[in-house]
């Protein structure tokens, strides 16, 4: 059934001549074959100059129109390629890991981006290293880390892992001592830091003969320059299938989500900084199987975790994860939920697709919801968000504090992206960036 669904939804033939165009490009060693050339270089330069003049005139007209008529200003032009950040850490600053070795940063809420990855970070991975979306970690506006994996690097023979660290927003990077590894496969490094000095590097030692694999956990207390091995094979093996994610609430209290399937899902918890781990089942006893996201902690005691089962469940704790309680969500399966702290959160429902007939649209809930009691109750937020997203789906909302938040939206074919910002808790929004 699911195979059929995927084939029906995605099935499209290879365009006629596509491989021949690729072959021609490779033979000519050009990025794109020239199909037809009707503009001479001189005419091309003239056309570019005319286009530039027209763009300037259009901008000038927009600005004058704004001053005269008092209309909402046009969507500003953008710089840098990134539209959707990996993580916003403040109302203005955010980071993006665009490819496995490209780190970008914004200081104007995503309108413009600057590439800040370590200059010496190689743009390659050995074949047998699993790429990981957690191989970079962004703590705040200044501190970030990114993992390098390689072979026979400076100071390391064989396979190694090094961590690059910055404390000035990516202007300068320091490289930590390399960690040499024995296993040739499946390392999938995952990083997590709780402050500028204390962090953890988790890898899964899954060589070809050891199907179960085992966790390897390193810790640092100097910001990533030096790492010490603190745990191997100590996680309950029945719960270990490679890491999905790891997080720490304090230097002692941490959580690990095993990468197992949905059967008998658990969280692994440590209360000694990662030396020993035990399995915990926060979900209610009668809950069907599902998968956990990584917990989020706002203090040593207050945290929450989402559990994906037949519907999305929210579980909260106020005693450092000793006990967990379910909380309600405003809709069964919201498109996105974001908490700025332990009490203030937002959720957005499913939007109506105006391009489809009413008869095939599911029951829609276009509302933006807000809670200020940790999910005990939710209320609709009067918002103008739909003014900007009429032909788009809102994919996610992300609030960095009680007033400032962001939303990302895309059109049905997934071609156009919107990045929006609010500074009044979601009541009014403005487009920061579009493609």
């Amino acid at each position: 059934m699911i195979f059929d669904q995927f084939h029906a939804a995605l099935n499209v033939p290879v365009p006629s001549g596509a491989f021949d165009r690729l072959r021609a490009a490779l033979v000519e060693a050009e990025p794109r074959p020239r199909r037809r050339r009707w503009l001479t270089p001189r005419l091309q330069r003239a056309a570019q100059l005319v286009l530039a003049i027209l763009v300037l005139l259009a901008l000038a007209a927009a600005i004058i129109g704004t001053l005269v008529a008092g209309h909402r200003p046009p969507i500003p032009p953008h710089g840098g390629p990134v539209t959707i950040p990996t993580r916003m850490v403040s109302p203005t600053t955010g980071w993006a890991e665009v490819a496995l070795s490209e780190i970008w940063r914004t200081t104007d809420a995503g309108a413009n981006w600057t590439e800040v990855d370590p200059p010496s970070l190689p743009d390659r991975r050995p074949q047998f290293w699993g790429p990981s979306e957690d191989a970079a970690f962004f703590l705040d506006a200044r501190h970030a880390w990114v993992v390098e994996t390689g072979m026979n690097g400076p100071g390391a023979s064989g396979l190694y892992v090094s961590v690059f660290a910055t404390d000035d927003g990516g202007r300068h990077w320091g490289k930590g001592q390399p960690i040499t590894l024995d296993s040739p496969s499946g390392m999938s490094p995952v990083l997590y830091f709780i402050d500028a000095r204390h962090g953890w590097l988790l890898m899964s030692d899954t060589n070809q003969d050891d199907i179960e694999g085992s966790p390897i956990l390193y810790a640092t207390s100097d910001g990533g320059l030096n790492w010490r091995l603190i745990s191997t094979r100590s996680a309950p093996l029945h719960a270990w299938c490679g890491p999905a994610s790891i997080m720490f609430a304090t230097v002692d209290l941490g959580w690990l989500v095993p990468g197992c399937g949905e059967s008998n899902p658990v969280l692994l918890v440590t209360r000694d900084g990662g030396v020993t781990w035990r399995a915990q089942r926060p979900q209610p006893t009668a809950t069907p199987d599902g998968v956990f996201d990584a917990p989020v902690f706002f203090s040593p005691t207050d945290g929450m975790v989402f559990f994906h089962t037949l519907q999305l469940l929210l579980l909260v704790t106020s005693d450092g994860g000793l006990t967990w309680s379910p909380r309600s969500l405003p809709v069964i399966n919201p498109m996105s939920v974001s908490f700025a702290d332990a009490t203030r959160g937002w959720a957005i429902g499913t939007h109506v697709r105006k391009s489809l007939p009413d008869s095939v649209n599911p029951p829609a809930d276009e509302s933006l919801y807000h809670t200020d009691d940790g999910g005990l109750s939710w209320a609709v937020v009067p918002t103008d968000l739909r003014q900007w997203t009429q032909d788009y789906f809102v994919d996610a909302v992300d609030f960095v504090d009680q007033k400032n938040g962001f939303a990302s939206a895309s059109d049905p074919p997934g071609q156009k992206l919107l990045w929006l910002k609010t500074s009044d808790g979601g009541r009014t929004w403005a487009v920061v960036r579009t493609t």
Binding site: L10, V12, A25, A99, S188, I211, G213, G290, R353, D395
Partner: protein
Amino acid sequence: MGQMLFDRSESELIGLARKGDGAAFAELIRPHYAAAFRMAYGMLHDSQEAEDAVQDAAFTAWKKLGNLHAESPMRPWFLAILANRCRYVSKTGSRSVVSAEIREVQAPAIDIAAGLDLRRALGRLGHDERLVLVLRYYLDMPYEEIAGTLGVTPKAARTRVERAVHRLRPILQVREALI
């Protein structure tokens, strides 16, 4: 006359490609092109963007052909590079100005909605989750080959697919209940 390229072994083609022979590298890619295009389309949902992504990935792979280890299969290595390229495209919104092929306009409204629902659901997932689903259920890849593309064990590949399916399930169940 020299031996035709299609008569040469893969190792011979790799040798030629490393010396700068673009035609030889194209022959290395040829048997994998259809799968690569389908994977890129599954990730980007646009034919033009998929073709561009495959082309860009091919040039990247050609430059990095030295990283392909001896005796290692070509396809998972190339698809891993393509996956990285697709991730870059989807993250930056670097889209072609050419309009997407809306092939589903001739299909019944329910099929249009179902297809859009699945694509929307895929869009909610992270890149890695979306990738394993496309590899498994659109390219019909066995777990062993998915593992080679991701650089993990077959068991880890299977569990990643299971987790990603579970993320999709609530949305697909809502859709099925309404039809």
